[in-house]
Amino acid sequence: MADSILHIKNAGKSRGAMRVLEGVSLNAEPGQRIALLGHNGAGKSTLMKAVLGLTTLDDGRITVDGARPGSAHARTVTAYLPEAVAFHKSLTGREQLTLFARLAGSDMAQVAGYLDRVGIADAADRRIGTYSKGMRQRLGLAQVLLGRPKLALLDEPTSGLDPISRHELYAIIDEMAAHGTAVVIASHTLTEVEARTDRIAILRDGRLVADDTLDNLTLRAGLPTRLRVRAHGDAAARIADETGGTRVNGVSVDLLCTPDRKMAELRRLSAMGEAVADIEMHPPRLEDLYRHYSKGDSQ
Protein backbone atom coordinates (compact mmCIF):
# COMPACT_ATOMS: atom_id res chain seq x y z
CA MET A 1 0.00 0.00 0.00
CA ALA A 2 1.23 3.43 -0.91
CA ASP A 3 0.57 5.12 2.41
CA SER A 4 2.19 2.42 4.53
CA ILE A 5 4.88 3.61 6.90
CA LEU A 6 6.19 0.11 7.28
CA HIS A 7 6.13 -2.26 4.37
CA ILE A 8 7.45 -5.79 4.78
CA LYS A 9 7.28 -8.12 1.80
CA ASN A 10 8.25 -11.79 1.88
CA ALA A 11 10.91 -11.29 4.52
CA GLY A 12 13.06 -14.36 4.96
CA LYS A 13 16.16 -15.04 7.01
CA SER A 14 18.22 -18.07 7.98
CA ARG A 15 20.47 -18.46 10.98
CA GLY A 16 22.61 -21.45 10.28
CA ALA A 17 20.29 -24.25 9.24
CA MET A 18 17.35 -22.61 11.05
CA ARG A 19 14.84 -20.56 9.10
CA VAL A 20 14.07 -17.71 11.55
CA LEU A 21 11.83 -15.77 9.17
CA GLU A 22 9.97 -17.17 6.18
CA GLY A 23 7.77 -15.23 3.78
CA VAL A 24 6.64 -12.62 6.29
CA SER A 25 4.60 -9.78 4.80
CA LEU A 26 3.19 -7.04 6.97
CA ASN A 27 2.13 -3.42 6.51
CA ALA A 28 1.59 -0.68 9.02
CA GLU A 29 -0.31 2.48 8.22
CA PRO A 30 -0.09 5.76 10.14
CA GLY A 31 -1.95 5.66 13.44
CA GLN A 32 -2.28 1.89 13.48
CA ARG A 33 -1.51 -0.12 16.57
CA ILE A 34 -0.39 -3.62 15.68
CA ALA A 35 0.30 -6.38 18.15
CA LEU A 36 2.98 -8.78 17.03
CA LEU A 37 2.47 -11.97 18.98
CA GLY A 38 4.48 -15.11 19.20
CA HIS A 39 6.35 -17.44 21.51
CA ASN A 40 9.98 -16.87 22.38
CA GLY A 41 12.02 -17.62 19.32
CA ALA A 42 9.09 -17.16 16.94
CA GLY A 43 10.99 -14.41 15.15
CA LYS A 44 9.50 -11.24 16.69
CA SER A 45 12.80 -9.71 17.73
CA THR A 46 14.53 -10.73 14.51
CA LEU A 47 11.77 -9.07 12.51
CA MET A 48 12.13 -5.88 14.57
CA LYS A 49 15.90 -5.89 14.13
CA ALA A 50 15.44 -6.31 10.40
CA VAL A 51 13.10 -3.30 10.37
CA LEU A 52 15.72 -1.33 12.30
CA GLY A 53 18.43 -2.36 9.88
CA LEU A 54 20.40 -4.04 12.67
CA THR A 55 20.27 -7.33 10.85
CA THR A 56 19.97 -8.09 7.15
CA LEU A 57 17.39 -10.25 5.39
CA ASP A 58 18.23 -13.11 3.07
CA ASP A 59 15.03 -12.73 1.08
CA GLY A 60 12.30 -10.16 0.57
CA ARG A 61 12.42 -6.49 1.33
CA ILE A 62 11.45 -3.93 3.91
CA THR A 63 10.86 -0.23 3.49
CA VAL A 64 10.36 2.26 6.29
CA ASP A 65 8.63 5.41 5.04
CA GLY A 66 9.94 4.51 1.60
CA ALA A 67 13.54 4.17 2.77
CA ARG A 68 15.85 1.22 3.32
CA PRO A 69 16.01 -0.03 6.93
CA GLY A 70 19.06 1.41 8.69
CA SER A 71 19.30 4.37 6.30
CA ALA A 72 19.48 7.82 7.88
CA HIS A 73 15.88 8.59 6.92
CA ALA A 74 14.53 5.28 8.22
CA ARG A 75 16.36 5.76 11.50
CA THR A 76 15.09 9.30 11.85
CA VAL A 77 11.44 8.29 11.54
CA THR A 78 11.72 5.14 13.67
CA ALA A 79 11.73 4.82 17.44
CA TYR A 80 12.64 1.61 19.21
CA LEU A 81 12.20 0.25 22.70
CA PRO A 82 14.34 -2.86 23.23
CA GLU A 83 13.08 -5.69 25.37
CA ALA A 84 15.47 -5.19 28.26
CA VAL A 85 16.60 -1.59 28.26
CA ALA A 86 19.94 -1.31 29.99
CA PHE A 87 21.17 2.25 30.04
CA HIS A 88 24.51 3.17 31.49
CA LYS A 89 24.27 3.00 35.27
CA SER A 90 26.34 6.08 36.02
CA LEU A 91 24.35 8.45 33.83
CA THR A 92 21.26 10.28 35.03
CA GLY A 93 17.95 9.89 33.25
CA ARG A 94 18.18 13.44 31.97
CA GLU A 95 21.70 12.96 30.59
CA GLN A 96 20.70 9.75 28.83
CA LEU A 97 17.62 11.30 27.28
CA THR A 98 19.59 14.42 26.28
CA LEU A 99 22.03 12.19 24.39
CA PHE A 100 19.18 10.61 22.47
CA ALA A 101 17.62 14.00 21.77
CA ARG A 102 20.95 15.25 20.39
CA LEU A 103 21.34 12.18 18.20
CA ALA A 104 17.78 12.45 16.96
CA GLY A 105 18.29 16.15 16.31
CA SER A 106 15.21 17.03 18.31
CA ASP A 107 14.59 20.02 20.50
CA MET A 108 16.59 19.96 23.76
CA ALA A 109 13.83 21.89 25.53
CA GLN A 110 11.49 18.92 25.11
CA VAL A 111 13.60 16.56 27.22
CA ALA A 112 12.14 17.72 30.52
CA GLY A 113 8.62 17.49 29.11
CA TYR A 114 9.06 13.88 28.03
CA LEU A 115 10.57 12.91 31.38
CA ASP A 116 7.50 14.43 32.99
CA ARG A 117 5.15 12.72 30.53
CA VAL A 118 6.41 9.26 31.53
CA GLY A 119 6.37 10.17 35.21
CA ILE A 120 10.06 10.18 36.13
CA ALA A 121 10.63 13.94 36.31
CA ASP A 122 11.46 13.64 40.03
CA ALA A 123 14.19 11.08 39.34
CA ALA A 124 15.56 12.87 36.28
CA ASP A 125 18.81 13.88 37.98
CA ARG A 126 19.42 10.64 39.79
CA ARG A 127 21.67 7.98 38.34
CA ILE A 128 19.98 5.26 36.32
CA GLY A 129 21.73 2.70 38.54
CA THR A 130 19.29 3.68 41.30
CA TYR A 131 16.18 3.23 39.09
CA SER A 132 13.73 0.38 39.42
CA LYS A 133 13.03 -1.78 36.38
CA GLY A 134 9.77 0.06 35.82
CA MET A 135 11.51 3.43 35.90
CA ARG A 136 14.09 2.28 33.36
CA GLN A 137 11.25 1.10 31.16
CA ARG A 138 9.63 4.53 31.49
CA LEU A 139 12.88 6.20 30.51
CA GLY A 140 12.97 3.87 27.54
CA LEU A 141 9.48 4.99 26.64
CA ALA A 142 10.48 8.65 26.95
CA GLN A 143 13.13 8.16 24.28
CA VAL A 144 10.49 6.56 22.04
CA LEU A 145 8.44 9.75 22.26
CA LEU A 146 11.38 11.93 21.21
CA GLY A 147 10.92 13.67 17.91
CA ARG A 148 7.44 12.33 17.14
CA PRO A 149 8.43 9.19 15.21
CA LYS A 150 6.33 7.87 12.31
CA LEU A 151 6.98 4.30 13.37
CA ALA A 152 7.48 2.98 16.90
CA LEU A 153 8.69 -0.55 17.56
CA LEU A 154 8.13 -1.68 21.13
CA ASP A 155 9.60 -5.02 22.17
CA GLU A 156 7.73 -6.37 25.22
CA PRO A 157 7.02 -2.85 26.53
CA THR A 158 5.01 -4.01 29.54
CA SER A 159 7.57 -6.40 30.99
CA GLY A 160 8.43 -5.35 34.53
CA LEU A 161 5.64 -2.80 34.80
CA ASP A 162 2.98 -2.82 37.51
CA PRO A 163 -0.69 -2.67 36.39
CA ILE A 164 -0.97 1.11 36.82
CA SER A 165 2.19 1.71 34.82
CA ARG A 166 0.88 -0.61 32.13
CA HIS A 167 -2.28 1.38 31.94
CA GLU A 168 -0.27 4.60 31.56
CA LEU A 169 1.93 2.95 28.96
CA TYR A 170 -1.08 2.09 26.82
CA ALA A 171 -2.44 5.60 27.29
CA ILE A 172 0.85 6.91 25.86
CA ILE A 173 0.70 4.41 23.00
CA ASP A 174 -2.85 5.55 22.19
CA GLU A 175 -1.68 9.13 22.23
CA MET A 176 1.15 8.35 19.82
CA ALA A 177 -1.22 6.53 17.51
CA ALA A 178 -3.61 9.47 17.66
CA HIS A 179 -0.75 11.66 16.45
CA GLY A 180 -0.30 9.36 13.47
CA THR A 181 2.50 7.10 14.66
CA ALA A 182 2.26 3.51 13.55
CA VAL A 183 2.98 1.42 16.65
CA VAL A 184 4.12 -2.20 16.52
CA ILE A 185 4.04 -3.94 19.89
CA ALA A 186 5.74 -7.29 20.23
CA SER A 187 4.31 -9.10 23.19
CA HIS A 188 3.19 -12.27 24.81
CA THR A 189 1.23 -10.43 27.46
CA LEU A 190 -2.06 -10.95 25.69
CA THR A 191 -4.73 -9.51 27.91
CA GLU A 192 -3.94 -5.82 27.48
CA VAL A 193 -3.11 -6.11 23.83
CA GLU A 194 -6.67 -7.32 23.25
CA ALA A 195 -8.40 -4.02 23.78
CA ARG A 196 -5.53 -1.82 22.77
CA THR A 197 -4.61 -2.76 19.25
CA ASP A 198 -6.20 -2.38 15.86
CA ARG A 199 -4.65 -5.45 14.37
CA ILE A 200 -3.07 -8.64 15.59
CA ALA A 201 -0.27 -10.42 13.78
CA ILE A 202 0.86 -13.81 15.03
CA LEU A 203 4.26 -15.27 14.24
CA ARG A 204 4.95 -18.95 14.58
CA ASP A 205 8.35 -20.44 13.77
CA GLY A 206 9.21 -17.46 11.61
CA ARG A 207 5.96 -17.52 9.63
CA LEU A 208 3.09 -15.09 9.90
CA VAL A 209 0.09 -17.30 10.67
CA ALA A 210 -2.42 -14.51 11.27
CA ASP A 211 -2.72 -10.81 10.50
CA ASP A 212 -6.17 -9.33 11.01
CA THR A 213 -8.47 -7.56 13.43
CA LEU A 214 -9.42 -9.40 16.60
CA ASP A 215 -13.02 -9.81 15.39
CA ASN A 216 -12.05 -11.31 12.07
CA LEU A 217 -9.55 -13.62 13.69
CA THR A 218 -12.23 -14.82 16.08
CA LEU A 219 -14.64 -15.41 13.25
CA ARG A 220 -12.11 -17.22 11.13
CA ALA A 221 -10.90 -19.43 13.94
CA GLY A 222 -14.48 -20.51 14.63
CA LEU A 223 -13.62 -21.10 18.26
CA PRO A 224 -16.59 -22.09 20.42
CA THR A 225 -18.26 -19.75 22.85
CA ARG A 226 -18.67 -21.29 26.24
CA LEU A 227 -22.05 -20.98 27.96
CA ARG A 228 -22.11 -21.68 31.66
CA VAL A 229 -25.63 -22.46 32.76
CA ARG A 230 -26.46 -22.36 36.46
CA ALA A 231 -29.37 -24.63 37.30
CA HIS A 232 -32.16 -24.11 39.84
CA GLY A 233 -32.23 -26.71 42.54
CA ASP A 234 -31.38 -30.15 41.22
CA ALA A 235 -32.13 -29.39 37.60
CA ALA A 236 -28.46 -29.56 36.61
CA ALA A 237 -28.62 -33.24 35.66
CA ARG A 238 -31.67 -32.66 33.48
CA ILE A 239 -30.07 -29.70 31.70
CA ALA A 240 -26.90 -31.64 31.07
CA ASP A 241 -28.90 -34.51 29.64
CA GLU A 242 -30.99 -32.38 27.35
CA THR A 243 -28.22 -30.17 26.02
CA GLY A 244 -25.33 -32.59 26.02
CA GLY A 245 -23.24 -30.27 28.15
CA THR A 246 -20.82 -31.21 30.91
CA ARG A 247 -21.62 -30.70 34.58
CA VAL A 248 -19.35 -28.56 36.70
CA ASN A 249 -19.32 -28.04 40.45
CA GLY A 250 -22.72 -29.61 41.05
CA VAL A 251 -25.07 -26.83 40.06
CA SER A 252 -23.73 -25.68 36.69
CA VAL A 253 -23.45 -27.04 33.17
CA ASP A 254 -20.92 -25.99 30.54
CA LEU A 255 -21.94 -25.84 26.91
CA LEU A 256 -19.68 -25.21 23.95
CA CYS A 257 -21.19 -23.81 20.80
CA THR A 258 -19.92 -22.25 17.59
CA PRO A 259 -20.72 -18.54 17.04
CA ASP A 260 -23.52 -19.29 14.56
CA ARG A 261 -25.18 -21.78 16.94
CA LYS A 262 -25.11 -19.44 19.91
CA MET A 263 -28.56 -17.84 19.58
CA ALA A 264 -30.25 -21.14 18.90
CA GLU A 265 -28.63 -22.57 22.05
CA LEU A 266 -29.80 -19.59 24.10
CA ARG A 267 -33.36 -19.94 22.85
CA ARG A 268 -33.36 -23.59 23.76
CA LEU A 269 -32.12 -22.79 27.24
CA SER A 270 -34.67 -20.06 27.85
CA ALA A 271 -37.39 -22.46 26.78
CA MET A 272 -36.46 -24.60 29.81
CA GLY A 273 -38.01 -21.95 32.00
CA GLU A 274 -37.48 -22.11 35.77
CA ALA A 275 -34.75 -24.78 35.59
CA VAL A 276 -32.22 -22.22 34.38
CA ALA A 277 -31.19 -19.69 37.02
CA ASP A 278 -28.45 -17.86 35.15
CA ILE A 279 -26.35 -17.96 31.99
CA GLU A 280 -22.80 -16.66 31.67
CA MET A 281 -21.29 -16.23 28.24
CA HIS A 282 -17.59 -16.64 27.58
CA PRO A 283 -16.65 -15.68 24.04
CA PRO A 284 -13.22 -16.96 22.95
CA ARG A 285 -10.47 -14.75 24.32
CA LEU A 286 -7.23 -13.69 22.77
CA GLU A 287 -5.50 -16.43 24.72
CA ASP A 288 -7.63 -19.06 23.01
CA LEU A 289 -7.12 -17.44 19.64
CA TYR A 290 -3.42 -17.21 20.18
CA ARG A 291 -3.27 -20.85 21.15
CA HIS A 292 -5.35 -21.72 18.13
CA TYR A 293 -3.20 -19.86 15.62
CA SER A 294 0.14 -20.56 17.18
CA LYS A 295 -0.50 -24.30 17.30
CA GLY A 296 -1.35 -24.29 13.65
CA ASP A 297 -4.79 -25.94 13.97
CA SER A 298 -6.06 -23.78 11.17
CA GLN A 299 -3.50 -24.79 8.60
Binding site: K49, L52, L54, T55, A72, R75, T76, T78, A79, Y80, L81, P82, E83, A84, V85, A86, F87, H88, S90, L91, E95, Q96, L99, F100, R102, L103, A104, G105, R127, G140, Q143
Partner: protein, 274 residues
Amino acid sequence: MIRRILAIARIEAIITRRNRWLLMATVIMVLFAVALTLAGSAPTGTLGVNMLTVSVASMTTLSVYLAPLLALMMAFDSIAGEAERGGLGLLLSYPVSRAEILLGKFLAHIAALAFAMVIGFGTAGALAALSGGADAASLAALLRLILTSILLGAAFLSLGYMLSALAGSATGAAGLSAGLWLVFVVLYDLGLLGAVVFDAGGWFTQKVFPWMMAANPADAFRLWNIAASDGVAMATGLAGAASALPIWVAPVSLLLWPVLGLLLARRFFGRLEP
Protein backbone atom coordinates in the same frame (compact mmCIF):
# COMPACT_ATOMS: atom_id res chain seq x y z
CA MET B 1 28.18 14.52 11.96
CA ILE B 2 30.33 16.61 14.28
CA ARG B 3 27.28 17.28 16.44
CA ARG B 4 26.61 13.57 16.92
CA ILE B 5 30.28 12.73 17.55
CA LEU B 6 30.38 15.41 20.22
CA ALA B 7 27.13 14.16 21.77
CA ILE B 8 28.65 10.67 22.15
CA ALA B 9 31.96 12.11 23.37
CA ARG B 10 30.21 14.23 25.99
CA ILE B 11 28.35 11.22 27.42
CA GLU B 12 31.50 9.06 27.39
CA ALA B 13 33.40 11.83 29.16
CA ILE B 14 30.76 11.90 31.90
CA ILE B 15 30.97 8.11 32.24
CA THR B 16 34.79 8.17 32.38
CA ARG B 17 34.60 10.73 35.14
CA ARG B 18 31.80 9.05 37.11
CA ASN B 19 33.23 5.55 37.09
CA ARG B 20 36.49 7.03 38.40
CA TRP B 21 38.52 5.95 35.39
CA LEU B 22 39.89 9.43 34.92
CA LEU B 23 40.90 9.65 38.56
CA MET B 24 42.46 6.20 38.59
CA ALA B 25 44.44 6.73 35.39
CA THR B 26 45.74 10.06 36.66
CA VAL B 27 46.70 8.70 40.06
CA ILE B 28 48.51 5.76 38.47
CA MET B 29 50.42 8.05 36.13
CA VAL B 30 51.43 10.47 38.89
CA LEU B 31 52.49 7.70 41.30
CA PHE B 32 54.62 5.81 38.79
CA ALA B 33 56.16 8.88 37.16
CA VAL B 34 57.10 10.47 40.47
CA ALA B 35 58.42 7.22 41.92
CA LEU B 36 60.60 6.59 38.84
CA THR B 37 61.92 10.13 38.83
CA LEU B 38 62.92 9.95 42.47
CA ALA B 39 64.46 6.50 42.10
CA GLY B 40 66.25 7.42 38.88
CA SER B 41 68.03 10.47 40.22
CA ALA B 42 71.32 8.59 40.86
CA PRO B 43 73.05 8.47 37.43
CA THR B 44 72.94 12.23 36.72
CA GLY B 45 76.51 12.87 37.71
CA THR B 46 78.13 10.09 35.73
CA LEU B 47 76.28 10.83 32.47
CA GLY B 48 76.69 14.56 32.67
CA VAL B 49 73.03 15.30 31.92
CA ASN B 50 70.55 17.13 34.07
CA MET B 51 67.95 15.40 36.18
CA LEU B 52 64.95 16.19 33.96
CA THR B 53 66.66 14.35 31.07
CA VAL B 54 67.17 11.28 33.22
CA SER B 55 63.61 11.53 34.46
CA VAL B 56 62.26 11.71 30.90
CA ALA B 57 64.36 8.69 29.94
CA SER B 58 62.94 6.57 32.74
CA MET B 59 59.44 7.84 32.13
CA THR B 60 59.77 6.86 28.46
CA THR B 61 60.34 3.27 29.55
CA LEU B 62 57.42 3.55 31.95
CA SER B 63 55.09 4.91 29.28
CA VAL B 64 55.83 2.03 26.93
CA TYR B 65 54.15 -0.26 29.45
CA LEU B 66 51.59 2.02 31.03
CA ALA B 67 50.09 3.98 28.12
CA PRO B 68 49.01 0.84 26.18
CA LEU B 69 47.72 -0.74 29.38
CA LEU B 70 45.58 2.24 30.40
CA ALA B 71 44.31 2.67 26.86
CA LEU B 72 43.30 -0.98 26.50
CA MET B 73 41.60 -0.95 29.88
CA MET B 74 39.52 2.02 28.82
CA ALA B 75 38.67 0.61 25.40
CA PHE B 76 37.97 -3.09 25.83
CA ASP B 77 34.45 -2.73 27.24
CA SER B 78 33.24 0.07 25.03
CA ILE B 79 31.64 -1.91 22.23
CA ALA B 80 31.30 -5.45 23.58
CA GLY B 81 29.97 -4.23 26.93
CA GLU B 82 27.42 -1.97 25.34
CA ALA B 83 26.31 -4.76 23.02
CA GLU B 84 25.94 -7.10 26.00
CA ARG B 85 23.87 -4.62 27.96
CA GLY B 86 21.57 -4.15 24.98
CA GLY B 87 22.30 -0.45 24.70
CA LEU B 88 24.03 -0.74 21.35
CA GLY B 89 20.93 -1.82 19.46
CA LEU B 90 19.04 1.14 20.85
CA LEU B 91 21.87 3.55 20.07
CA LEU B 92 22.07 2.27 16.50
CA SER B 93 18.33 2.77 16.04
CA TYR B 94 19.15 6.49 16.11
CA PRO B 95 20.55 8.27 13.07
CA VAL B 96 24.15 7.88 14.24
CA SER B 97 26.71 5.86 12.31
CA ARG B 98 29.10 3.33 13.75
CA ALA B 99 32.00 5.55 12.74
CA GLU B 100 30.47 8.44 14.68
CA ILE B 101 30.03 6.28 17.76
CA LEU B 102 33.65 5.12 17.53
CA LEU B 103 35.02 8.62 17.04
CA GLY B 104 32.93 9.99 19.89
CA LYS B 105 34.21 7.37 22.29
CA PHE B 106 37.75 7.83 21.00
CA LEU B 107 37.59 11.58 21.56
CA ALA B 108 36.44 11.20 25.18
CA HIS B 109 38.93 8.45 25.98
CA ILE B 110 41.92 10.16 24.39
CA ALA B 111 41.05 13.32 26.31
CA ALA B 112 41.01 11.36 29.55
CA LEU B 113 44.36 9.72 28.71
CA ALA B 114 45.87 13.07 27.73
CA PHE B 115 44.75 14.54 31.03
CA ALA B 116 46.37 11.70 32.97
CA MET B 117 49.62 11.98 30.94
CA VAL B 118 49.90 15.73 31.29
CA ILE B 119 49.29 15.65 35.04
CA GLY B 120 51.46 12.55 35.65
CA PHE B 121 54.49 13.40 33.52
CA GLY B 122 54.07 17.11 34.23
CA THR B 123 54.21 16.59 37.99
CA ALA B 124 57.22 14.27 37.80
CA GLY B 125 58.96 16.54 35.30
CA ALA B 126 58.43 19.60 37.45
CA LEU B 127 59.76 17.72 40.46
CA ALA B 128 62.89 16.66 38.56
CA ALA B 129 63.48 20.13 37.14
CA LEU B 130 63.11 21.76 40.53
CA SER B 131 65.48 19.40 42.31
CA GLY B 132 68.05 18.69 39.58
CA GLY B 133 67.84 21.37 36.94
CA ALA B 134 66.53 21.51 33.41
CA ASP B 135 67.37 23.13 30.08
CA ALA B 136 65.51 23.84 26.87
CA ALA B 137 66.42 20.45 25.39
CA SER B 138 65.16 18.49 28.37
CA LEU B 139 61.94 20.51 28.47
CA ALA B 140 61.41 19.72 24.79
CA ALA B 141 62.05 16.06 25.57
CA LEU B 142 59.39 16.17 28.30
CA LEU B 143 56.90 17.76 25.93
CA ARG B 144 57.72 15.17 23.30
CA LEU B 145 57.25 12.41 25.84
CA ILE B 146 53.78 13.66 26.74
CA LEU B 147 52.67 14.06 23.12
CA THR B 148 54.05 10.71 21.97
CA SER B 149 52.53 8.99 25.02
CA ILE B 150 49.15 10.34 23.99
CA LEU B 151 49.74 9.03 20.46
CA LEU B 152 50.76 5.65 21.84
CA GLY B 153 47.59 5.67 23.94
CA ALA B 154 45.58 6.53 20.83
CA ALA B 155 47.08 3.58 18.95
CA PHE B 156 46.12 1.15 21.69
CA LEU B 157 42.69 2.72 22.26
CA SER B 158 41.86 2.05 18.63
CA LEU B 159 43.24 -1.48 18.84
CA GLY B 160 41.18 -1.96 22.00
CA TYR B 161 37.99 -0.94 20.15
CA MET B 162 38.91 -3.35 17.40
CA LEU B 163 39.18 -6.23 19.88
CA SER B 164 36.01 -5.08 21.63
CA ALA B 165 34.10 -5.26 18.33
CA LEU B 166 35.72 -8.56 17.48
CA ALA B 167 35.26 -10.38 20.77
CA GLY B 168 31.49 -10.48 21.12
CA SER B 169 31.65 -10.30 24.91
CA ALA B 170 33.30 -7.96 27.39
CA THR B 171 35.15 -10.81 29.08
CA GLY B 172 36.43 -12.04 25.76
CA ALA B 173 37.55 -8.54 24.86
CA ALA B 174 39.39 -8.24 28.19
CA GLY B 175 41.25 -11.47 27.49
CA LEU B 176 42.17 -10.46 23.95
CA SER B 177 43.34 -7.06 25.20
CA ALA B 178 45.62 -8.64 27.78
CA GLY B 179 47.04 -10.85 25.03
CA LEU B 180 47.55 -7.91 22.70
CA TRP B 181 49.37 -5.96 25.39
CA LEU B 182 51.62 -8.91 26.15
CA VAL B 183 52.48 -9.43 22.48
CA PHE B 184 53.14 -5.83 21.53
CA VAL B 185 54.83 -4.68 24.71
CA VAL B 186 56.71 -7.75 25.94
CA LEU B 187 56.88 -10.72 23.57
CA TYR B 188 57.58 -8.75 20.40
CA ASP B 189 60.72 -7.24 21.92
CA LEU B 190 61.82 -10.57 23.35
CA GLY B 191 61.43 -12.16 19.95
CA LEU B 192 63.44 -9.44 18.26
CA LEU B 193 66.11 -9.67 20.94
CA GLY B 194 66.38 -13.41 20.43
CA ALA B 195 66.69 -12.95 16.67
CA VAL B 196 69.37 -10.32 17.08
CA VAL B 197 71.39 -12.52 19.42
CA PHE B 198 71.07 -15.48 17.06
CA ASP B 199 71.97 -13.33 14.05
CA ALA B 200 75.10 -11.99 15.80
CA GLY B 201 75.28 -8.64 14.04
CA GLY B 202 74.52 -9.90 10.55
CA TRP B 203 72.13 -8.83 7.80
CA PHE B 204 68.99 -9.15 9.96
CA THR B 205 70.37 -6.97 12.73
CA GLN B 206 71.51 -4.24 10.38
CA LYS B 207 68.72 -4.16 7.76
CA VAL B 208 65.54 -5.74 9.11
CA PHE B 209 65.64 -5.30 12.86
CA PRO B 210 65.29 -1.48 12.98
CA TRP B 211 62.28 -1.58 10.64
CA MET B 212 60.62 -4.34 12.58
CA MET B 213 61.12 -2.34 15.70
CA ALA B 214 59.54 0.73 14.12
CA ALA B 215 56.55 -1.33 12.97
CA ASN B 216 55.49 -1.93 16.57
CA PRO B 217 53.82 1.20 17.95
CA ALA B 218 55.34 0.68 21.39
CA ASP B 219 58.84 0.49 19.95
CA ALA B 220 58.17 3.31 17.49
CA PHE B 221 57.32 5.41 20.51
CA ARG B 222 60.61 4.48 22.14
CA LEU B 223 62.59 5.14 18.96
CA TRP B 224 60.99 8.53 18.38
CA ASN B 225 61.83 9.73 21.87
CA ILE B 226 65.36 8.38 21.72
CA ALA B 227 66.20 9.56 18.22
CA ALA B 228 65.03 13.06 18.96
CA SER B 229 67.09 13.61 22.05
CA ASP B 230 70.77 12.79 22.49
CA GLY B 231 70.46 13.04 26.24
CA VAL B 232 67.59 10.56 26.42
CA ALA B 233 69.36 8.23 24.00
CA MET B 234 72.45 8.25 26.17
CA ALA B 235 70.41 7.69 29.32
CA THR B 236 68.54 4.71 27.86
CA GLY B 237 71.46 3.22 25.97
CA LEU B 238 69.34 2.56 22.88
CA ALA B 239 71.07 5.01 20.56
CA GLY B 240 72.25 2.33 18.13
CA ALA B 241 68.86 1.14 16.95
CA ALA B 242 67.53 4.64 16.73
CA SER B 243 70.28 5.92 14.47
CA ALA B 244 69.93 3.09 11.97
CA LEU B 245 66.64 4.44 10.61
CA PRO B 246 65.65 7.61 8.78
CA ILE B 247 64.36 10.12 11.30
CA TRP B 248 60.77 10.09 9.97
CA VAL B 249 60.12 6.37 10.28
CA ALA B 250 59.16 6.13 13.95
CA PRO B 251 56.89 9.22 13.93
CA VAL B 252 55.09 8.00 10.81
CA SER B 253 54.55 4.57 12.36
CA LEU B 254 53.20 6.04 15.58
CA LEU B 255 50.92 8.42 13.70
CA LEU B 256 49.63 5.72 11.36
CA TRP B 257 48.75 3.18 14.03
CA PRO B 258 45.77 5.06 15.52
CA VAL B 259 44.35 5.59 12.03
CA LEU B 260 44.88 1.96 11.10
CA GLY B 261 43.41 0.81 14.42
CA LEU B 262 40.30 2.94 14.00
CA LEU B 263 39.77 1.70 10.46
CA LEU B 264 40.08 -1.91 11.62
CA ALA B 265 37.77 -1.20 14.57
CA ARG B 266 35.18 0.31 12.22
CA ARG B 267 35.42 -2.71 9.97
CA PHE B 268 34.82 -5.25 12.73
CA PHE B 269 32.20 -3.01 14.36
CA GLY B 270 30.32 -3.08 11.05
CA ARG B 271 30.13 -6.86 11.20
CA LEU B 272 28.78 -6.88 14.74
CA GLU B 273 25.05 -7.54 14.93
CA PRO B 274 23.73 -6.12 18.18
